[in-house]
Amino acid sequence: MRDSIRRLFRHRKAAVGGSILLFFLVLALIGPWLVMDPSDLVGRPHQPPSGAHLFGTNGQGQDVLAQTVVGARETLAVGFAVGALVTLVGALIGVTAGYLGRRVDDALSLTTNVFLVIPGLPLAIVLGAYLPSGPLRMVAVLTVAGWAWNARVFRAEALSLRNRDFVAAAAVAGESRARIVARELLPNMASLLGSSFIGNTLYAVGAQVGLEFLGLGDVGSVTWGTNLYWAGNDAALLTRSWWIFVPTGVCIALVGFSLTLLSSAIDELTNPALKAPPAVAAITPVTSAAQAEPQPPGVVLSVRELCIDYATERGPSRVVDTVSFDIAPGEVFGLAGESGSGKSTIGYGLLRLLPPAARISQGRILFDGTDVTALDEEALRAFRWAKVSMVFQSAMSALNPVLTLGEQFHDTLAAHGRTTRAASYARARELLAMVGLSPELVRAWPHQLSGGMRQRVGIALALALEPKLVVMDEPTTALDVVVQKELLQRVLELKARLGFAVLFITHDLPLLLALSDRVGVLQGGKLVEVDTAARLRTDARHPYTRLLLSSFPHLNADDATGPTSNVSLAAPERPPALAALSGGHR
């Protein structure tokens, strides 16, 4: 908690927003004692700014500077009061609905949603018109008109927290519901409470100013809204007296902007994806003799001393460290290693699909004689998928949910040469049949397919352009054992028929040994051992490989005879020994 507050202060947006807000808070607190009485009639109306009246005088002949400064007090007081009240009401209703669920949730959610669609301003006006005047009226009206959004947000948060282990544990331990809400749920919503409070204050200031501008506030008091109300009433525009309405508007905007900055800073801190990634430092690549060597014949892919760096807050971090290997046409090359070992990064690196924070800092990737690392944008685009395609671990979520399968095949085919939609669809049917799916699925959307079916679509898509190499990144990890087995069998059949090479990436070493011709073992970004599967099974040299092998319980020579051996395909739970290994984690 203290740590997150410290990070908030170091954040640039938060610092700027916080300073502006602090300035206005101090102004609201002590400002009224520093300026003249805002209701005094100090001179002729509509006087432009001068030494005597820095911001001029308004339509009544009052000092605009005094009006602006004094206006801050009630405006901010009501704004923060309403902000807190709306947060409180919304959080209580939302958490109650989300945590209690069932009928309570149904009733509260319906009420919330109804209030959400009823426009706030007309409701506030009707309410305000009937209630007795005063600052309390403003607070009541704005709370009634504005609580719903917050309740919705908090309900969603409570729903997601309710299913978390620590809440379940508290329930099992016999704690009362009220205690769980107060002790387990609310403390975990601290950052949401903070950002909601800021958002609600923003709403409250804006809505309050709007209502007062309409004349629904107490027109006798001095607030930013009533300042603008009088500016409108006293013909500030007609008399060309810009100084009457500009200062107040700028103050409102500055307060609003500071709140926006603060809430966006909180968003960025809680959701790091929104924050710009750290810049990647420029590097001057050094070409070593090994990298400069031409590609040997009989090899489709040569990776030479490949290094991939990730930019982090603390400088570059090397994720792939001087990795070299070759893949022959039609070969299955396995890449094994635990999570964080850099194996997926290598796979993405081959297609230059690295995230913005990562870059290839050294080495070359030679494919059929072309240096992939040297391709320009357009050549790279043509290279991708036509030469090397990829099956993702998450093919389930990798397909575009809003396009039919046929369209996604068509996009792929059309991007690599002119083709008609009819021709693409015919090819898509053929490919779907090839992976054992009904050709009629061209008209289907991804969500209509099961996970295993989607993974098959992913394979069909990868073969669409008949590439020489298919990178398969944990293609079966998310599938159950039976589906996994069928799918891998199908891949091997297709490979035999079409003759593509495979780079198979997984943490499941027994599976790899069963499937691959050769296997490379990665540890901490370094390729520690490369050998044929047969030799590795019995004769692994590197201690890490041996550790990996021994940590999979049922492996013996009998299991490893064929590519579809039951035991080897059943990926067992990763034992803790692996995760505890030094160097494996980054």
Binding site: N113, V114, L116, V117, I118, P119, L121, P122, L123, I125, V126, L127, A129, Y130, P132, G210, F213, L214, G215, L228, G232, L237, L238, R240, W242, F245, G249, I252, A253, V255, G256, T260, S264, D267, A273, L274, A276, Y348, L353, P355, P356, R381, F383, R384, W385, A386, S389, F392, S394, A395, S397, A398, N400, P401, V402, D411, A415, H416, W445, L461
Partner: protein, 326 residues
Amino acid sequence: MHYVLRRLGFYLIAAWASLTLNFVIPRLAPGDPASAMFARFEGRIQPEAMAALRAVFGFTDAPWHVQYLTYLKHLMSGELGLSYAYYPSSVSEVIGTGLVWTVGLAGFAVIFSFALGSLLGVLAAWNRGGWLDSVVAPALAFLGAFPYFWLAMLALYLFGFGLGWFPLRHAYSHDVEPGWTLTFAADVARHAVLPAASIVVATLGSWMLSMRNTMVATLGTDTLRLAHAKGLPPRQVMLRYAARNALLPNVTGFGMALGFVLSGSLLTEIVFSYPGTGYLLILAVRNQDYPLMQGLFLVITLAVLAANFAVDLLCLWLDPRTRAHA
């Protein structure tokens, strides 16, 4: 179909809730609400007309549930009572003329702003850290912090009073005959520029920011990685794969923000004396014209409900997953 019916059911409930609020709120007021409500009519209209007016709002001597039924019955027949400010026009007549202008102005400005803002958000996220992302977005966010009506005042001051480029008030000039003529259309367009522009400027930043943020999240998904891996042309990846998916949550957000944005544009109308429902609303407030105020509340709420339903249908059209459950 199931989905559509469920949403329709929800909006019917919401409509009923707002009718009921409209009935309950005057009765929450301290003192005798009916006399407060109709005090200004005293002496202006005949006692029989007064009795009829009270009946519209259910203020009879009957028990409250009978009052409620009377009120609903009058509503069903479109009877909203008499306007004090526009006496002897009925509230429904007065609102009818205003609604056209509001729907035209706010409808156009809000949709235009959403479309443009979303497009800017897409481009900002695509060229992350570029000038659109690092200069235009914060500038628009700052503009979005001003109240709508204040931007309207500034625009009117600069381009209306100062430079004289645009008319100062109303929806059309009084010397132009309303009708389906080109002159009239051009005149209406000239009058709409400043109010529409101030609504657009006030809202553009928020649409841009929310689209940018969902876009950034979408760009990190495997869908996008696959699209890049397939070697699709960049423009296709940006629009058909990223923007198309990022649009869905934003359209939902658009529906939810409608009521809020509409409230802001009602205030903008006031600055320009634009004869829409917002301008009527302030006339009603200033004249304590309670029948008109309540009628406006109802009509504006129903309009927002209808717009929300339209947005739901749009989502249905955009998202095959929702369609599957429909």
